[in-house]
């Protein structure tokens, strides 16, 4: 036994003690993951209740509950493994980007046909992800065309069905985390999914790097387009005025995850935190909630500066944090086209 411990020391001089790794994982699970999904579940329950109480698209109560629940989702949207992937739950909560405008098309088709699928929560789970989740609800509440299309009674039923479906999905994710996935991350050796603490840390590290990549390349990159062809209408959730807010919320959540992972390496921790602080500072000063400014050179420069500052966080994560954790970059869902 003693020999094994010594060997571990020799092989992994950079990664610290096995005990540290285990404590790091436990901290991420208990202080980052579980609170995040608990917030999502309670905010989603409140959203469904608000839709039941008042389904008018302009209802202040409904819009407030929608924005709270959407905030909670963005705070965990980087945790795309395990319970969020079972039954494609995360896709059902959040289908975006949508380059072929599938969401307005699917919603219009349902409203025009008065599709009776809204009558059953079970049946609603078979509906295209384009007509489910937060981005569909955003169209139903904020898009001038969709929010006035067809019969008011059907739209009301649809809004309630989408909200209830979000609630069901969020509860299912939380239940899975509480019932077994949290324990599985903390004691991976008892599972088929991960072989070791290192593999769990790789999963958490990938959540960080993939989240950063998504925010830089997709949340900012899509509206930026190219200099000759800026694409402000591609900004995320622009109808609800949430584009910049999503960048901020995701950075705040990713910073929390990064700090917990970096507890293993004080040096990486300090540089990472400074880089996050710089990016967040840029978001505070941007004053462009839906990135409309990407179309003019001055505004564009500021959004590009923000994107570059997130690139800097990614560099530090790859160069310092990954090696400190002793894990490889791995593959993620953004690989490919």
């Amino acid at each position: 036994m003693r020999f094994l411990i010594l060997l571990a020391f020799v092989i992994t001089p950079l990664t610290g003690w096995a005990q540290d790794r285990s404590a790091t994982i436990q901290d991420v699970v208990e202080a980052h993951i579980l609170p995040g999904f608990t917030r999502l579940a309670s905010a989603s329950a409140a959203l469904s209740q608000a839709a039941q109480a008042d389904c008018a698209a302009a209802s202040e109560g409904l819009r407030g509950a929608f924005n709270d629940a959407f905030d909670a989702w963005i705070g965990v949207s980087h945790l795309r493994f395990g319970p969020t992937e079972t039954g494609n739950r995360a896709f059902a909560l959040a289908f975006w980007p949508d380059p072929r405008s599938a969401t307005p098309k699917a919603l219009s088709a349902m409203i025009e046909a008065e599709d009776p699928v809204v009558e059953s929560a079970d049946a609603f789970q078979t509906v295209s992800i384009a007509a489910r989740g937060f981005y569909a609800l955003e169209f139903l509440l904020y898009d001038p065309q969709i929010s006035a299309l067809g019969s008011g009674a059907y739209r009301c039923a649809l809004i309630r069905a989408v909200a209830a479906d979000v609630d069901n999905t969020a509860q299912a994710i939380l239940t899975d985390w509480q019932d077994h996935y949290a324990a599985l991350l903390i004691s991976p050796e008892n599972s088929d999914v991960y072989r070791s603490d290192e593999e769990v840390l790789q999963e958490l590290f990938k959540a960080l790097t993939t989240g950063l990549q998504f925010t830089a390349d997709t949340r900012l990159g899509r509206p930026l387009g190219t200099f000759d062809q800026p694409r402000p209408t591609r900004a995320e959730a622009r109808r609800a005025g949430r584009s910049l807010r999503h960048v901020q919320l995701s950075l705040i959540a990713l910073r929390d995850l990064a700090q917990r992972l970096a507890s293993i390496s004080p040096e990486a921790s300090a540089t990472l935190d400074a880089a996050f602080a710089q990016s967040l500072d840029l978001t505070e000063r941007l004053d462009d909630p839906v990135f409309a400014g990407v179309a003019d050179p001055q505004g564009r420069l500021r959004v590009e500066a923000l994107q570059q500052s997130i690139g800097r966080i990614r560099e530090i994560a790859a160069a310092d944090l990954g090696p400190a954790l002793g894990v490889a970059a791995g593959f993620n869902a953004l690989d490919g086209d």
Binding site: R195, A328, A333
Partner: protein
Amino acid sequence: MKPLLPAAVALCASLGTGAMAQDKAAVLETYADIAAAAYGDSLITAQRLQVAVNALGTAPSAEALQQARAAWLAARVPYQQTEAFRFGNPIVDDWEGKVNAWPLDEGLIDYVDGSYGGPTDENAFAVLNVVANPGFTLSGKSIDAAEITPALLADTLHEADGIESNVATGYHAIEFLLWGQDLNGHAHGAGNRPWTDYATGDACTGGNCDRRAAYLQAATDLLVSDLEWMAAQWADGGAARNALTAHEDAGLSAILTGMGSLSYGEQAGERMRLGLMLNDPEEEHDCFSDNTHNSHYYDGLGVQNVYLGEYVRVDGTLVSGPSLSDLVAATDADLDAEMQRKLSATMRALGRIKTAAEAGFSYDQMLERGNLAGETLVMGGVEGLIDQTRTIERVVTTLDLDQIAFEGSDSLDNPGAVFQ
């Protein structure tokens, strides 16, 4: 994941020496040989397609159209197996969009059904219809399209206005010209373009039959010349082969990057799961010809080929040699067994989709809302691909290629970063 830059590679310490180094060199050679053979086969089958397309243009008939379609389907078999080379090799990834870009707004090319709609928020040229229009304005520039040439397609129309779905070249543009839109929705059946879309004189349907034939020939000529170029890159002394073998560990990392990125982000995610969850038959990869089951199957086979170091050519001969599998087995036999088992499980799942589709349960039916059997079949493939990616990551770790992967991701968006 974008592949490595040579500069990044140079910073990495070489791990293997002696016998191991020799093994690695031999593994890379097998991989490059398979690439040369598979792109060579893609070229051969594209040349057969070219013969068939020219015959259709010269003497249009139902039989000639059918033969061109059969030639297209055959050409897809070797090409899809090359997709495993894409993401690990920059030279392939930079080029791939010319030959296999997807999905496309086909209204750019030719007439479409009224249900297709008009220009969209994303694409002002979604219904440009080049076949019907010998002149038009594109991004403020007046374009003379009186003569449809390979250069017009490649340099002016492809990705026109900076929009990726303006696909003017490659397999899927040709597929659309041979089959037309699949208007069957979720019902069984592919696109049903009449052969008379290529007929001369009064027999012509759909208008501008001569321009349609010219477009089809230009796109096919372009495909052939693009494949000629890529096959040459993998021949002895070719740029792709040289880049791969310049550094052994980086070369191995490129192989695994290609396997993992195609399996997970591209095939399991973008192509299979998303289409299923959108219930959208337009999300089929080969949506005009209803050949998606084969497209997925041969993608999976390409990944397995690369790991096992084996490829069956279109003339039936086997190309094989020392493989990544051998290399992994020498370090960790259990891990090699796990990798082989998972690749086989994926091929069985993709094989189920293929056999069901060939027996009449087509891929677009599988995508229909509430079709549980279809969902189970497609998700079986998705889960196999995700599961094998986890083991590919273990192989990266076991072969001590992790640090190379880091350098690779570091150079992803900021090539200068590695010099800091």
